[in-house]
Amino acid sequence: MAAAPRSATTGTASALSGKNAGDTSATAISVRGLSRSFGPVRALSDVSFDVPAGEITALLGENGAGKSTLLKILAGLQPPSAGSVTVFGEEVASFSPSSMLDRYGVAIVPQELSLLPDRSVAENVLSGVEPGNRWFPSRRQMMERTRDLLAELDLRVDPTVPVRSLDLATQQLVVVARSIARGCRVLIMDEPTAMLTPSEAERLFALMESLKAAGTTMLYVSHRMPEVFRLADRIEVLRDGAHVASWRNADTTPDQAVAAMVGRELGAFTRRAAHTADPGVSPALRVRELSGRRHSGVSFEVRPGEILGVAGLPDSGRVELLHNLFGGDRGSGGTVELLGEPYQRRNPIASVERRLAFVPGERRAQGLLTTMSVGENIGALTTKAFSRFGLVRRGAFDRQAAEQGRKLRVKTATMGQPITSLSGGNQQKAVLGRWLAIDPGVLILDEPTRGVDVGAKAEIYEQLFALAGKGLAILCSSSDLPELLTLTDRIAVMSEGRLVDVVETTEATEESLMTLATGATPTAA
């Protein structure tokens, strides 16, 4: 399929291959001295590298390494603080999504797909370049042209159906097709395989191969080494905002690439001493045959002082399981025993009373009291303790919040600062810190270090180790497998709503966890 023959006569053929015909220059994008700061945080510092035309370049880096910032600049969503970007020999003068796309031919496939869910595939693919007259696009031509383009990309999608009816993977392919229809020469993809099953990913890889054959330049971000080494011609590595390594595929190995991504900082995330929970101690959390949205029949136990990880693909039901346990979502069956007592009618208010803490994964949407101050966010659970006749004693409240903030090393100018002015890591410390006020017996965390810089990550790990050391039972879900391998004592792996296995962390590897999570045999890479 890689070298699919195309008919040169259709209009779409020119959209796909015509534009690149004249581009003989070797460099599609040239980045020089690119920097970007957000307040005191330097997300990118002095990054320089080249993306060769007609090749696939993989961009690697840990969470918080600066990949997203770099991609946003290249897509025109943010201007750089310093440095330049040159596309096919022309230096970019104004950074906006429309100029990057229309003038320089750079398109991005973001993680959050920006499609119009209720419009047809054709309307989405051709949005902005509708055939026919400007006010009244011709529906017939639209369908035809989309059908041709999809056929050329070897995508079997009905152009007339609404995008909402397609699965996520196909929607992503529609976004790629839209970029091609807009005449893009450089396609940037932000973790395109993160939400895909292995077979869905194969479809995307096939499309990428055929785009490459047609001369399209691609820059893409991934965490998955096997696919990177299979697809990419070049590999660029970012770490802590700096460009640290650059190879041709053949010149490096996955181990070397991982070492460059992680750098010395790996030393900061040392696993804590092996911890074996005393089997004589009764579990702090005992879950039997728990069912709810996207999960069913899940059973496990967490003992005091133990950190149990939960691994699984994004749609495995692990996030829904946590929400069901805490009581944010309603469950549909099974039993939960919390600190020795049955806990059936779960809801957040009761959970707080029973000392069950929950740090949700979507910090901005579920964790932060977005319009309130740092101190108010940290103290959110103490208003009851510090109130008399319904009035909060602000002095005591503020002192306690400041004390908590200090303990968790929340870096902020003042406690009165808006929470949104802090970096992701400090916001996360504040959200974690607020729960310590209720002296939790069980702590549930989802993606504890998503969007958190390396330094804050180490501090959060230390904090969690210390809490477990004091006998807290911790249940921690993460899509970051190295994180689970560092943080936990045992790991429960979920796949398609079922808990497939609970493994000792010391005996687990990223590969073994991924194999369990995908329910597949190890992928040949």
């Binding site: 307040g39 005191p40 805490f326 944010g328 957040p348 208010i349 959970s351 707080v352 009373e353 929950f358 949700p360 949407a365 579920q366 964790g367 932060l368 009291l369 977005t370 319009t371 309130m372 101190g375 108010e376 959110a380 659970l381 208003t383 009851k384 109130s387 319904g390 009035l391 909060v392 602000r394 503020d398 919040a401 400041a402 903030g405 200090r406 090393r409 929340v410 870096k411 902020t412 100018a413 003042t414 406690m415 009165g416 600062q417 002015s421 607020r434």
Partner: protein, 336 residues
Amino acid sequence: MTSTTPTTAPAREFPLPLRRLLHARESGVFAALLLLFLLGTVLTPGFAQSDNLLSVGQQIAQIGIMAVGVTFVIVNGEIDLSVGSTYALSAISTGMLISDGWSWPLAMAAGLAVGALAGLLNGLAVVVLGVPSFIVTLGTLSVFRGVALLISDGAPISLSSSQEGVAEFSLLGQGELFGVIPMQLVFFAAVAALGVVLLARSRFGFNSYAVGGNREAARLVGVNVKRVKLTAFVLSGFTAGLAGVLGLSFLSYVQGVTGQGLELTVISAVIIGGAALFGGSGTMWGTVIGVAFIGLLQNILNIKGISSFWQTVVTGLVIVAAVAADTWQRKRKSRA
């Protein structure tokens, strides 16, 4: 102040009171109010005299009382468009009961209860049925008005001063404390003071900001979101009812169409005072300043003899200008 180098929780975690005052959200509106006051003093003779200012206080009192209640709703990220109709419904109820021979304290209590009940119905429809408050209160704006017209049969109600107790009841709206300060202004001051304490100092107030700013995050830290919103709507209905009763007392007269369009003036005052319609921000002081701003502006235009048509135009422009200034300031802050 955002550029201060971050340190690990320094010794002085909270800004000094003075800095707090200068950086307070409502400082911008307050500056605008002072400017307007100066402008009024210079441009209009007789403006800065105490009896003129007291009469402004009298005029803004009912709007102000309602705005206090509506502020709670807006901080919760909701809206209450029905307060003008609730105002009429409470006034009609009280008026009819007094005419029927009820003693005025009982009739007044009934009127206030009607207001609170109207708020409760709004709140229940929002939190139990999950209908957006804009739709709910757009509906009850019409329903409450309709009920007010139905029970009064569309006929105006006049309280006869010869009836026993009516003279006392009239003192609530027409009387003056120490013979100087209009009683309505005293009511407004009391309601505003309670509102300040409730919003800035109480758990309910704290939870209102939490719910209005991020409903889901508030729910996940154990805030009873439904109860908080319900309380806000009841307060809004109650204050609208109180304003309605005071209006009846002031004029000894009410009819089904009284207070039409009042909701827009009230919401305007809250918005000028700095509360965002998205919820989670705004202060009671801001609302009080917003109410005063609208009152002074109308007073200046009145003294200058500018037609009420122009006054409507100017009030509208001020709302847009206030929000534009606020947006601009926020953008500049977030960029720094």
